[in-house]
Structure formats: structure tokens, C-alpha cells
């Protein structure tokens, strides 16, 4: 049974009075523990697809299932609970909370979403800080970290809740090549160690090669599937 299933999923947006079809009849099955990438030019529908899988948006038509749960009819609260329990997110702009240290940023979902006890929380945070190589920087605020360091913290924050699926929208777009490869290597390493499924989008051909499976999108359709 696939972890993620998309059945004839379409998504339309209204741009003023004009309806724009961002995704057209997408059918997709993603197995567990895959390291998968969506690639394609700007406007091809990568982010829309990630938003739909990430339960951040609802499809206009079609059905999305994650871990045997149909996402279509979730309320805002149900969607938030599902995300907190099953999904991790890594953003292009890192999106760390500016007022929290690296440690506290990783701690945030454990307090606000999963409400773990202090001891378990601390052990888990220290494990992930160590795993992403940020133990020495744990007390620094985002403004005191480089782009690569911020994204490492973001990876730890995405993984700390032990999600089944991590979604990363252009995670390397704001990084230099060295940092970008380090982040992708880190994601790959974590996928191996934790058996987590990673789906990321990119338009960087060099980064795409790191994925096990690559889906190419164009004008809202999947035009190619490549297994590396």
C-alpha cells in the first residue's frame, strides 16, 4: 500500500476573474521510505502539489490519501492535527521563528503540537541537534546562523516529531552549492537512518540527481517519471 496516493487531482486558482488550472488530473503513488523529487520550471505546479500533499490546501477535484487517510474533507483544525502528527515541513526561506534559539525552534513542535514531557523532549532535541551537526550552535538565534545552518535546524525541526513524511519546497534554493549539497546529504542520511519518506521540489538539475525517484512536471501535469 502506497504512503501517498493522488487520484485524478486537479487544482484551480482564481486570478481575479480568471480561473487558472495549476494541476491537471494528477495520478500518483508514493511508497514509504522514498527520497523523491518534483522538478520542473516555475509555474509547473511543484509547490501546488506539495501544498496539497502537505494538507495545506484542498484539491478542486480528485482525492488525496496519506497513510490510508483521505485528506479532502478535513476541517482547519483536523488538518492542523494531521500535519502535526504525520508531516514535517522544510521551507525555501527556512522559516525559523526569529525569537527562538535553534534549540527552541526544534522544541517548538514538541511543545505546541505534540506536548511531550520535558525529559523526552530534551533527549529528542539533543539527538536531532547532534544528527544535523548543530549542537554547538543550539543557543544561537536564527539571525546569528548562516543559511545552511538555518536549514539544518529546519531539517531537525521537521524530523523531531517523527513524521512519516517530510515535505521540502525548494529547500536548497536560497543556499550556495556547497551548503545545498550538505543539506540534501543530510536529508538523505536522515531518510536512511529514520526510514522517513522525503518529498522535495527543486529546479536545480544537480540536486535532482540526488533523488531516488524524480517526477517532472510541466503546466500542471506529470510528464515524466525517472528512477535514479
Amino acid at each position: 500500500m502506497a504512503l501517498v496516493t493522488l487520484n485524478k487531482v486537479s487544482k484551480n486558482y482564481l486570478m481575479g476573474e480568471v480561473s487558472v488550472e495549476a494541476l491537471k488530473d494528477v495520478n500518483l503513488e508514493i511508497e514509504e521510505q522514498t527520497f523523491l523529487s518534483f522538478t520542473g520550471p516555475s509555474g509547473s505546479g511543484k509547490t501546488t502539489l506539495l501544498n496539497l500533499i502537505g494538507c495545506l490546501d484542498k484539491p478542486t477535484t480528485g482525492e488525496i490519501t496519506i497513510n490510508n487517510t483521505v485528506l479532502n474533507h478535513f476541517s482547519g483544525k483536523e488538518a492542523a492535527m494531521f500535519r502535526g502528527k504525520n508531516l514535517g515541513f522544510i521551507f525555501q526561506n527556512f522559516n525559523l521563528l526569529a525569537v527562538l534559539t535553534a534549540y527552541e525552534n526544534i522544541e517548538y513542535p514538541l511543545i505546541m503540537v505534540q506536548n511531550l514531557p520535558v525529559k523526552e523532549r530534551r533527549d529528542r532535541i539533543l539527538y536531532y541537534l547532534n544528527a544535523v551537526g548543530m549542537t554547538d550552535q543550539k543557543d544561537k538565534y536564527p539571525s546569528q546562523l548562516s543559511g545552511g545552518q538555518k536549514q539544518r535546524v529546519a531539517v531537525a525541526r521537521a524530523l523531531v516529531t517523527n513524521p512519516k513524511l517530510v515535505l521540502a519546497d525548494e529547500p536548497t534554493a536560497n543556499l550556495d552549492h556547497v551548503s545545498a549539497f550538505r543539506v540534501i546529504e543530510l536529508m538523505r542520511k536522515m531518510q536512511h537512518e529514520l526510514k522517513t519518506t522525503f518529498i522535495f521540489s527543486t529546479h536545480d538539475p544537480k540536486i535532482v540527481k540526488e533523488a531516488e525517484i524524480v517526477y517532472a512536471l510541466e503546466d500542471g501535469r506529470i510528464i515524466n517519471k525517472q528512477v535514479n
Binding site: G76, A80, N95, L97
Partner: protein, 417 residues
């Protein structure tokens, strides 16, 4: 909840200058309310104290119908001996709330210095009872009173200073009092001026005092009769409850028409100053409304800015699974924190300002009473109510921005740059 407030405080610190300006505005508002309430309330209490302690007492009992014709000082509405005993029993039965009381006979008379004649309003009193019920009456007497419990002796009269001036009278002079009795006949007595006093009802007041036994002789009252009982309460702050208790007991006493034999009035029913006291209360309420407006507008403004500046952040925390209710609390906590911190600082500065005012010995005059020192104070309950108003309004004004944040769609919020 601890984490929510930790994040709230850090977010407030993130925009230091803005938070500081808002807090400053609220602090000034709180200080303004505390100082205004402290000064005006103290002034009001002082003035009320002056009226009740030197003239009216806190409560007054009359025979039913007396107050409606009080301007004529009628003598046919006197309380007779049996009524006095009934009133006395009720007063003594409530000694836990009643400090003291004084029997009075009030009447109009003509005062003559043998050359000129003028009208005067007189109160016949037992000096010891009167001094206990209205102890600050002595402050209104121009000359020194060696024994306040005997401030008016039989055969003596205290006249208001304006009549003393007009008739060129001074202590020791002889005067004649002529008054109508309740049956319409006229009687006169000769008395000696013992003191002059400030007009109780202002510069044009024409109130004087004689001993109640002299009043009875003048008015040819045989036996025991009075027309007013002035009551001093142990705790003037409990005027309303004391009035209720006394009213319930007095209304049990019926007259021949099976209606209440007595009527009870508070000082506020009898004095025009109660209107001024109400205006002072209204001013305090107005200042509080201004404070509410300050808090409402400033916190609403700062929180709306905060929400608009952190749309992407709201998208992020929502994406990683923060429930809308927790996002709501994150923003409410910011408003509450700003309100609480500003209130505490405002309370401290406000109380400190009142202490400074007290240490400055600011004094003023009110009629005969010179050099009254303004002793400001604010009760803990008043302080608490001001603080609660600010904190509740801070919460209410944060509600709209917080709801806005909690209802944002994560996908839209994340797109925001």
C-alpha cells in the same frame, strides 16, 4: 501556557521601541486614572465628611411628611415622646452600626438686638449628643470652645456670623428670640450670645444653635418632642446597607393611618453637595473611559501590526501543526502581557505619585476650615478594578488581531513575503 507567554514576551521584545511606546501610553493612562481617582475621591470624601460631620450626620429620621415641607420648619410634624422612645429603641438595638445620634428641634424665629430684628433658623440641641453626632461642628465656631460636650449652655445662643455682623452682635450681648408656637401663639425669650459661627449653608446661611430646653420653653413644648434625629454611623462607607437596615426597622412603626410613622434620609438626599459628588464620580468614570480608549486603540494597533508583519510566521507555525486555538492564544498572550506589564508599572508609578502628593502637603480652604491638607489615597479595590479594566481591555483589543491570525489559511500565509 508558560511557553506561550515566553514566546509572547520575546515577540514584544522583538519590536522593542513599538512595545515600549505602547506600554508608555498605557502606563500614562493608568497613572492618570490612579492620580485622578486618588485626588478626586479623597477630595469628595473630605467634603462629604465635612458636611456629615459638622451638619447633617450620615442619616436623619423625621416624622413622615416633614422633609417635604422642611423649608418651613413645621412644628406640627414633631415626633412625640412615644415616637422618640420607639426611635431610641431601634437606634440602640443597632448599636453595632450606629456610633451616636442627636435629637434636634428645628424652627424659625425672629432675632432682635432690641433695635433691629431679623429672621433666623435655629436648632435646639443637647450639646453632648450633638457633639457626638457631628463632632466637626466645633470647627465652624469662630471662638474657642473649651468644652465641646457643652458647647451651648441653657440661656445662650450661637448665631451665624453674617447676622452677628448685620446686627452688630458679639459674644456676651443680649438678644431676644421671638417664635410662633405650633398653635399659632407667639412667645419670646431673652438669651445671651455665646459664640458666632460660620454659616452652615454657605455665606448666606442663617443657622444658629440654642439648648433644646430653651427651644422647648420658647415653643411652649411640654414634655418630650423633637423634629429631627441626626445619626452618625460607625462606618460611613456602609451607608447604603445601614440605610437599608434602619429603613426596614423604622418602617415597622406605623402611624394612625397604618403608614410608616417615620421617614429616613441619607445625607445625600438632604444635601445639594451629593450632586457635586455624583459629578466627581462621573468624572472618574470619564477618565476611566479615556483609559479604556487608550488601551483599546494602542493594543489593537500594535497587535494588528504584529499580525500583518508576521503572516509568514503564522503560516509556518500553522503548517507544522499548531492548532488555530493555540495561534489565537499566542497573540492574545502578547496583548495580555503588554497590558499586565504596563498596568503593574502604571500602578507602581501611580501609587508613588499619590505618596509624593501627600508628602507635598498640598492644602486648601473650605469655608471656615482653613489649611485642609489634601490626603490622597486609593483603595486596593479601586487599584484592582483599574488594573482589571486595563488587562481585560488589553485582552479584548487583542482578540480581533488574534482571531485574524488564527483564521489565516496556512497556504496563503506561507505565500506572503
Amino acid at each position: 501556557m508558560k511557553s506561550i507567554f515566553k514566546i509572547a514576551i520575546r515577540n514584544l521584545m522583538r519590536y522593542k521601541r513599538r512595545s515600549l511606546m505602547t506600554a508608555l501610553l498605557i502606563i500614562i493612562g493608568v497613572v492618570m486614572v490612579i492620580v485622578f481617582s486618588g485626588v478626586s475621591d479623597s477630595f469628595k470624601k473630605m467634603m462629604i465628611g465635612s458636611i456629615t460631620d459638622s451638619m447633617l450626620g450620615h442619616l436623619q429620621i423625621h416624622k413622615t411628611g416633614y422633609v417635604s415641607s422642611i423649608e418651613n420648619l413645621p412644628l406640627h410634624l414633631n415626633i412625640n415622646d412615644q415616637g422618640i422612645k420607639q426611635v431610641e429603641k431601634i437606634l440602640n438595638d443597632n448599636s453595632e452600626i450606629i456610633d451616636s445620634y442627636s435629637y434636634r428641634i428645628k424652627f424659625s424665629a425672629m432675632l432682635s438686638n432690641y433695635e433691629e430684628t431679623t429672621n433666623i433658623r435655629l436648632t435646639g440641641v443637647y450639646p453632648e449628643m450633638e457633639n457626638a453626632a457631628v463632632p466637626r461642628l466645633m470647627e465652624r465656631i469662630n471662638e474657642e470652645v473649651p468644652d465641646p460636650d457643652n458647647f451651648i449652655e441653657q440661656g445662650k445662643i450661637i448665631i451665624p456670623e453674617n447676622i452677628a455682623r448685620g446686627l452688630q452682635l458679639k459674644p456676651g450681648d443680649e438678644v431676644v428670640l421671638v417664635a410662633n408656637n405650633k398653635d399659632g401663639s407667639v412667645n419670646g425669650v431673652s438669651l445671651q450670645v455665646s459664640h458666632t459661627m460660620e454659616g452652615l449653608l454657605g455665606p448666606t446661611g442663617r443657622d444658629g444653635f440654642i439648648h433644646i430646653e430653651d427651644a422647648k420653653v420658647l415653643l411652649r413644648i411640654e414634655g418630650n418632642e423633637i423634629n429631627e434625629v441626626a445619626i452618625r454611623l460607625k462606618n460611613p462607607d456602609k451607608l447604603v446597607s445601614a440605610n437599608k437596615i434602619m429603613y426596614e426597622e423604622l418602617s415597622q412603626v406605623k402611624n394612625e393611618q397604618d403608614k410608616s410613622a417615620f421617614e429616613l434620609h441619607t445625607w445625600a438626599d438632604l444635601s445639594p453637595f451629593s450632586t457635586i459628588a455624583t459629578i466627581v464620580d462621573l468624572l472618574i468614570i470619564t477618565v476611566r473611559i479615556v483609559l479604556i480608549a487608550i488601551v483599546l486603540v494602542s493594543i489593537l494597533n500594535v497587535m494588528m501590526m504584529s499580525v500583518y508583519e508576521r503572516v509568514s510566521e503564522i503560516g509556518t507555525i500553522s503548517a507544522i501543526g499548531t492548532l488555530p486555538s493555540k495561534i489565537l492564544w499566542l497573540f492574545l498572550a502578547e496583548g495580555f502581557t503588554l497590558g499586565i506589564i504596563s498596568t503593574v508599572i502604571g500602578d507602581i508609578i501611580g501609587v508613588f505619585a499619590l505618596i509624593i502628593i501627600n508628602l507635598s502637603n498640598i492644602n486648601f480652604s473650605f469655608g471656615r476650615m482653613k489649611g485642609i491638607i489634601l490626603e490622597t489615597s486609593i483603595s486596593p479595590s479601586e487599584l484592582l478594578s483599574v488594573s482589571l479594566i486595563v488587562i481585560i481591555i488589553a485582552g479584548i483589543s487583542s482578540l480581533h488581531p488574534a482571531l485574524k491570525a488564527s483564521r489565516m489559511q496556512p497556504v496563503d500565509a506561507l505565500r506572503h513575503v
